[in-house]
Amino acid sequence: MENSFLDVIPRVPVSEWISATVDWLTNNLAWLFGAIQDAGDWLMDTMTDLLLLIPDFVFIIIMVALAFFAAKKKFGLPIFTLVGLLYIQNQGLWESLMYTFTLVIVASLVSIIIGVPAGILMAKSKIANTILSPILDFMQTMPAFVYLIPAVAFFGIGMVPGVFSAVIFALPPTVRFTNLGIRQVSEEMVEAADSFGSTGSQKLFKVELPLAKATMMAGINQTVLLALSMVVIASMIGAPGLGEEVISALQRAQVGPGFVSGLSLVVLAIILDRIMQGFNKR
């Protein structure tokens, strides 16, 4: 293998090209990235501060109540929520939890704000579908760690690059499921809407989106969970929260603290997932 005749083709400088592009973006759009970073940092710090203003027991009561309604007034999920959150508080991870919570919410919201319209576009336009499909494949198959590098280049370290990489990683399910949900609306429903003279947007908002809702929510649910997992990875570039604890435990090879924080993440993931699924089923 050392001397393949294919070696006559010189190495194509793909990595140089990408680096150059990212450098160019970093230099020329510094003002934009800077502004985003400042605004994002301010927003998320404020949000976390506000969340931390809520006394922990009040927060727990609110979450348990939400779980209670989401689970249709059954007791399994509320009890799990109560015990799980008490555990996190007990382990002294409350502030980390709030940071993670903020990051997940912001990343999910941004993903939804971008993803739902993109999904609608894909469902409506063949061209958009053809262009966006491979981009989504790319976003989903590229190892998540790779996104951390340009994130740092653009936004330095901290919460904003964390959210940036989490959005890229978590966006595809929302787009795909929105697209799928709209395409699944039966022909007869579309014909019925058309036959009464609906405009495109009337058809979309009064018929297609309501009928696609359950599917879209399944995608959004996925997005939130992916955002959570990426927020943890983003701790490697300085995003605060539970992930930070995990990373520092990893660096010091401390099994105990690693699992304590890891378990907290599992608790948060299960609570978020089940509450959302519960509300979706109603």
């Binding site: 007869e188 036959s195 609906s198 009064k206 018929v207």
Partner: protein
């Protein structure tokens, strides 16, 4: 009354090589040949006819004959490949989007085979949909929708969801929704085909009653000859995308345009075409396990019957019970009807012809049960109905003969 809808040379080609297929079609090539040469399917082949204001115009054909495609080109849910559709002289197939939308909103409504009701909207919200997209304000559109529902006897259900209603009721909603914005033309695509036979006949009657007062121009698609003859003022018969004959039921029966139509209507010396399905009535039944002898006896008394049919799960016919037996059980204090079910009841399927029924019913001591392949009870035929139907035939034949 003038011409309301005029269809001129309407063509629909499905497939990629549309232009090439059109050229072949103009050269007079047939559907099979075009498919072979271009891979394109001729959905509708140069259909032309006129529909008069206020008539029920039935388009009949077997599945794949292009009738659903044709009706969808009338409001352009399907874009015609060629040809014109004129409604009140305005050419639908050449209209701009905005103008077309206006026609759909104000002039032409559609009723769908599987009802086309929006599952996330209540009955009232479904009914007001047409008005809602027109931008009619909430109070007024609700008032109109409620009136349309009231006419259909559905007002009490207005806050339910479609899934909570039976098929027949859902289609009544579909019809009420189509009528809520008071259109001039009603397109009905196999509107009653998904319904049970008895409900279907009720719906046909309702449509005819409604037509007495409303005088809409109705274009009704069906694959059922009996339905066509029953409700159609005029009938167009389609085969392989072509309209092969247009005429009144009488004309088509007496003067079929070609072999195809002739075979279609072959047996229509009507006594043969009327089937059990056409004359059956709703049976009085009790359900095994749910009702005991006391209930059965009580029902027979109030309805003045000497026997009652017994059904099980899914309306499956089990047999019948007679009053004497039920009375005996009551005396003996037995609570299940099971021991007295008699099974010697004649069963026929719904396509049994009436003159065959005549022989069966002549010998039977009970009504004749009409069942489907799973023994599900659809209706019963009693002696009077068969004789009545046959007598009517003879009467008609006598008049026709003069």
């Amino acid at each position: 009354m003038g011409t309301k809808v005029e269809v001129q040379n309407l063509v629909k080609i499905f497939g990629k090589k549309e232009q090439q297929a059109l050229e072949l079609l103009h050269q007079g090539k047939g559907k099979a040949e075009i498919l072979q040469k271009t891979g394109a399917t001729v959905g509708v082949n140069q259909a032309s006819f006129e529909i008069q204001e206020g008539e029920i115009f039935v388009i009949m054909g077997l599945s794949g004959s292009g009738k659903s495609t044709l009706v969808r080109m009338l409001n352009r849910l399907i874009e015609p490949s060629e040809g014109n559709v004129l409604i009140d002289g305005d050419n639908i197939s050449k209209m701009e989007k905005e103008e077309l939308r206006k026609v759909r909103r104000e002039k032409v409504s559609m009723v769908f085979q599987n009802f086309g009701l929006f599952p996330h909207r209540t009955i009232l919200e479904n009914t007001e949909y047409g008005l809602e997209v027109q931008g009619v304000d909430k109070e007024e559109r609700q008032k109109k929708a409620e009136k349309a529902l009231d006419n259909a006897g559905l007002l009490p259900y207005k806050d339910q969801l479609p899934s909570q209603l039976s098929g027949g009721m859902q289609q009544r909603v579909g019809l009420a929704r189509a009528l809520a914005n008071d259109p001039e033309i009603l397109l009905m695509d196999e509107a009653f085909s998904a319904l049970d036979p008895l409900i279907r006949r009720d719906m046909q009657d309702e449509l005819l009653d409604m037509q007495e007062t409303m005088r809409k121009t109705i274009i009704f698609i069906t694959h059922d000859l009996n339905e066509s003859l029953r409700i159609g003022d005029r009938i167009a018969i389609m085969k392989d995308g072509e309209v092969v004959q247009v005429g009144t039921g009488e004309e088509i029966l007496t003067n079929p345009a070609n072999d195809y139509v002739e075979r279609f209507v072959e047996d229509v010396d009507r006594s043969k075409v009327l089937t059990a399905e056409n004359i059956m009535v709703r049976p009085q039944t009790v359900r095994l396990g749910q009702s005991g002898p006391r209930v059965a006896l009580n029902r027979m008394r109030t309805e003045s019957l000497s026997s009652l049919l017994v059904v099980g799960e899914n309306q499956k016919l089990l047999g019948y019970v007679v009053a004497d037996d039920a009375a005996r059980l009551v005396k003996e204090n037995v609570t299940s009807l099971e021991s007295i079910i008699r099974t010697d009841i004649p069963k026929v399927d719904r396509h049994t012809l009436i003159n065959e029924l005549y022989g069966i019913i002549h010998e039977a001591t009970t009504p004749v049960a009409v069942v489907n392949e799973n023994d599900r009870l659809l209706g019963i035929v009693v002696r009077g109905l068969v004789i009545g139907a046959l007598a009517k035939e003879e009467e008609e034949e006598a008049t026709n003969g003069e």
